[in-house]
């Protein structure tokens, strides 16, 4: 007998997400993903000054703060044909990569680790044995028996207080929790340490961007952080080396702790490797531009269809028509007026609220499609596309992670395991590690360019009469983000955001094709319908952001 389960709210994500699954014979047979909150940013932007748009849309999300900002200034610049100075490009790249470090660390530890780690079980761990276990994974200096003992004591104090706070009434002791107590204790220790390292990443970001969440150093035409090596209140070498030091510290944590922890989870939960693939059409944006025009980049973009690496097609620049022409959004199953499927420049946003109806409309998310097909976006998409394209750094880093999982698991695993719930975590950790390297690389490029005497940061925008259309594409932590703008006589006529979490968490379309969240849940095991931990595992692996997805 099929049983319907509603999980609302899905917690440890950004935003208001409801997931419904039908379970039959201990497995998910049907799933629905539903965004429960609407704000109407696309409506609010109409008629406003295009230069202001980035500050508005940045407020779509405070978790992936920076990404809508970047996509927005790019969209306006694209519409105007405005090329920004080289320094501005490098500074934006540093913003992108450093923000990703913070975002990925927080996602793995604060938002998803508790799906795999039993905090209460850590009380049974032996700190010395924990140190031994940790040493087999990495030589991180924080992995000491003393520290583990202190953490264990901390957990004990918390549990004894009777006030579990955010850890109350969770899935402790669930039969799907498989880690030995020592692995749990190690993970709890890293959970706390992660709080310090994510903060360092945000500090590095703030030095360039004034503050964050919600940076304030962009502008259509470049950036506003003036460079003057001989001034105390501009970007100078003191500020830049402060950034570098912090990023280096964070890189250490990512490469020695985060990546190792993901390897351990992947290996110790190897029975989970077959679950959660879902939609295996992948879409990623090229990003981390190496030139002013956006034609050379450090992160490759493109598509892979049906999980077949041989189908790979690159997206070769910000202006590639292969991307621009093939995006549409369908509102057939969402709470909007109409049932069209349209290209973003032609779209509108006309809310028509309703109740959840599994057979009809059931969400505030539109359903983005590429050539009519649902696509999975995110770090995994980028790794799969890059792997398929033979991108040197990606092949090297992905193979390295697979080798480490194989070693700990004791079985040889290949890239096919990436199409899974755990694959998404692994791809994200690999991406974080690459982003740390890239942040430092682009730091070097900036310093080199400044050393040549180039201090340019801004080319002023000019808004001609008449209509201009632009798109800003960006590879955000959760995947490909695109902002589509139509400007008329210097004012915004239409603004549409097609967001990573909209691609992933979106509903069915007019042809009844499920979105990636929904498809990935089908086939997941459910041990206890009262405590559907497994659903959380797969949903969390996407790193949901529903404020992004609806906006």
């Amino acid at each position: 007998m099929a049983q319907r389960i509603t999980i609302d709210p899905i917690t440890r994500i950004e935003g208001h997400l409801r997931v419904d699954v039908e379970v039959d014979g201990g497995k998910v047979t049907k799933a629905w993903s539903s965004g429960q909150m609407f704000r109407g940013l696309e409506i609010i932007l109409k008629g406003r000054d295009p230069r202001d748009a980035w500050l508005f849309v940045q407020r779509i999300c405070g978790v992936c703060t920076t990404v809508h900002a970047l996509a927005s200034v790019r969209a306006v610049e694209n519409a105007l044909g405005l090329v920004i100075p080289t320094n501005a490009q490098y500074i934006r790249n540093m913003i992108q990569s450093i923000h990703a470090l913070h975002d990925h660390i927080v996602h793995f530890y604060a938002l998803s680790a508790l799906d795999w780690v039993d905090v209460v079980s850590a009380l049974k761990a032996d700190p010395v044995a924990t140190q031994k276990l940790a040493e087999t994974l990495s030589d991180w200096p924080g992995n000491s028996a003393k520290r583990f003992a202190a953490v264990k004591d901390k957990v004990k104090t918390l549990v004894d207080s009777g006030q579990l706070g955010p850890f109350a009434n969770a899935y402790w002791g669930h039969s799907a929790m498989k880690l030995p107590p020592e692995a749990n204790l190690m993970a709890v220790s890293h959970y706390l340490e992660a709080l310090d390292y994510q903060r360092k990443a945000t500090q590095a970001l703030a030095i360039i961007s004034g503050k964050n969440p919600h940076i304030q150093n962009l502008s259509v035409g470049g950036v506003t952080c003036a460079i003057n090596l001989d001034n105390d209140s501009t970007l100078n070498m003191e500020r830049l080396y402060f950034v570098k030091q912090l990023v280096e510290e964070v890189r250490g944590f990512i490469q020695q702790v985060y990546l190792s922890d993901v390897v351990a989870v992947g290996a110790l939960y190897k029975e989970w490797l077959p679950y959660g693939a879902g939609v295996t059409n992948y879409l990623a944006a090229p990003d981390m531009f190496l030139d002013k025009e956006g034609t050379k980049f450090d992160l490759p973009g493109g598509t892979v269809m049906g999980g077949d690496l041989k189908t790979v097609k690159p997206i070769s620049s910000l202006n590639d028509k292969y991307f621009k022409d093939n995006v549409q959004e369908s509102i057939a199953r969402a709470w909007y007026d109409g049932d069209w499927s349209k290209h973003p420049w032609e779209e509108s946003t006309d809310p028509k609220p309703g109740e959840f109806n599994a057979e009809g409309r059931y969400t505030w998310l539109k359903a983005p499609r590429f050539q009519g097909k649902p696509m999975q976006v995110g770090p995994l998409a980028q790794m799969v596309v890059g792997y398929a394209l033979g991108h040197e750094q990606i092949v090297k880093n992905v193979n390295g992670a697979l080798d480490r999982i194989s070693a700990v698991a004791g079985v040889k695993v290949g890239p096919e395991i990436l199409h899974s719930t755990i694959g998404r975590h692994a791809a994200r950790a690999v991406r974080a590690s690459m982003m740390a390297d890239l942040a430092l690389k682009h730091w070097g490029l900036l310093v080199e360019n400044v050393g040549k005497g180039d201090l340019e940061i801004f080319n002023p925008p000019v808004f001609p009469k008449g209509e201009q259309r632009g798109v800003g594409v960006h590879e955000a932590p959760r995947g490909l983000l695109s902002h589509w703008i139509v400007i008329e006589n210097g004012k915004i006529k239409n603004y549409q955001c097609v967001v990573p979490s909209t691609w992933n968490a979106g509903p069915r379309d007019a042809k009844d094709q499920m979105g990636p969240y929904e498809a990935s849940l089908v086939g997941n095991p459910i041990a206890d319908a009262e405590r559907p931990l497994e659903v959380l595992r797969t949903i969390h692996s996407f790193d949901p952001c529903i404020a992004c997805a609806v906006h």
């Binding site: 509603t6 999980i7 609302d8 709210p9 917690t11 440890r12 994500i13 208001h16 429960q36 609407f38 704000r39 109407g40 609010i44 202001d52 508005f56 407020r59 999300c61 405070g62 978790v63 100075p85 905090v119 202190a150 953490v151 901390k154 104090t157 207080s161 006030q163 706070g165 955010p166 109350a168 009434n169 969770a170 709080l195 310090d196 903060r199 500090q203 970001l205 703030a206 030095i207 004034g210 503050k211 964050n212 969440p213 919600h214 150093n217 962009l218 470049g222 506003t224 952080c225 003036a226 003057n228 001034n231 105390d232 209140s233 501009t234 809310p351 609220p353 940061i457 559907p532 404020a547």
Partner: protein, 358 residues
């Protein structure tokens, strides 16, 4: 650097000390007396005061800002200072397990927990634009807020409606104070500096009373003055040295950003004084003007952000235009009218004068 588990860095806050401090301080200060007894009780019944944090129409930037906090840092805040019983972004439980936590907390600590709200509340169409566990934000707030010992609204969304309330406010969003009876502490900003919230909480835990507030319910220690008043570029303002365009020579000298739209002169906030992320920065220090994010309706009144004066509605007229273009037009019309009037007068004189001569 903060280390969340190093015991020497975690002197447990002593509840008894708080209470003593509270009696001492109660005599010295005078505000919001009514809530003190309830809170003293709250402080004595639980080891760590229970906090319920609700999310409505928001971007989680306010929550994210707490990840950046350093004194106290988040680990210490959660493990040693408060008991964050309900907070959708960090809590381990989900679905009906999470719902149960919420209900258990507000029943068990009825009248004793602190409620923090992040995000605006849509009111159009009975609030259907934001639902959690099948209930609207409006319904949840109406259920939880009356049971709280104190209500704190964090962020410009929860205080004044925020970005979703910007014209034309498609979902009828409002801030918490529009829906809740009784006092609300407003920690505005988009997001606020985390120290504004933490300072308020620590003040509260130390003295069992709220800090002094301004007329908009914002704590004076964080919103008592304008950014302009403590800005490091203020001397350039006074001496008339201004950035004309980003990237120009004036910008490279870090001159004042007034002419490229800085709203520091009209924004009550402590950004210029306390700065962000422990690295001594704020928007102006990276060459961008303040956009006024702590002020009510700043999305409509401070825009366009890169202009000095905004295009606000001319009161009552529904016309959206900037003051000077209207002013100059009317002045032009006036001058023309005066000219015509004088010409007609002179013309009449000439004709009449001739008639008189006859």
């Amino acid at each position: 650097m903060a280390d969340t588990v190093n015991e020497t860095l975690v002197p447990r806050l002593d509840r008894r000390g708080f209470l003593k401090g509270c009696t001492m301080a109660a005599a010295a200060l005078g505000l919001s007396e009514t809530m003190v007894p309830k809170l003293v009780e709250a402080a004595t019944t639980a080891q760590r005061p229970p906090v319920v944090w609700l999310h409505f129409q928001e971007c989680t930037g306010c929550t994210e800002s707490l990840l950046r906090a350093s004194h106290p840092d988040l680990g210490r805040l959660l493990l040693d200072i408060i008991s964050l019983d309900y907070h959708e972004t960090v809590m381990a439980a989900a679905g009906h397990q999470a719902e149960k936590v919420l209900h258990d907390t507000i029943e068990k600590y009825n009248g004793k927990f602190v409620l923090i709200v992040e995000g605006a509340i849509p009111t159009k169409d009975n609030g259907i634009y934001c639902k959690i566990a099948g209930k609207t934000a409006m319904a949840i707030l109406a259920e939880v807020a009356p049971k709280a010992a104190a209500v704190i609204a964090i962020g410009t969304c929860a205080t004044f409606g925020g970005v979703q309330a910007a014209a034309p406010n498609p979902t009828g969003s409002v801030g918490v104070q529009s829906l809740v009876k009784g006092p609300v502490v407003n920690i505005s900003g988009c997001p606020p500096n985390p120290i504004a919230l933490l300072g308020t909480i620590l003040h509260f835990l130390t003295f069992n009373r709220l800090p002094a507030l301004d007329k908009l319910g914002r704590p004076l220690f964080a919103y008592g003055r304008r950014n302009h008043d403590h800005c490091e570029r203020r001397p350039h303002f006074d001496e008339g040295r201004f950035v004309e365009q980003f990237g120009d020579e004036f910008h490279k000298q870090a001159y004042c950003l007034y002419k490229v739209g800085c709203k520091g002169p009209e924004t009550f906030a402590n950004c210029s004084a306390v700065r962000f992320n422990d690295v001594d920065v704020w928007p102006v220090s990276v060459g961008h003007g303040c956009i006024g994010c702590t002020e009510p309706n700043f999305w409509d009144t401070m825009t366009p952000f890169y202009e000095r004066l905004p295009n606000v509605k001319i009161p009552g007229s529904g016309i959206i235009a900037d003051a000077d273009s209207v002013g100059k037009k009317v002045l032009g019309i006036t001058a023309a009218a005066v000219g015509i009037h004088a010409a007609v007068g002179i013309g009449k004189r000439l004709i009449k004068g001739k008639e008189d001569d006859k």
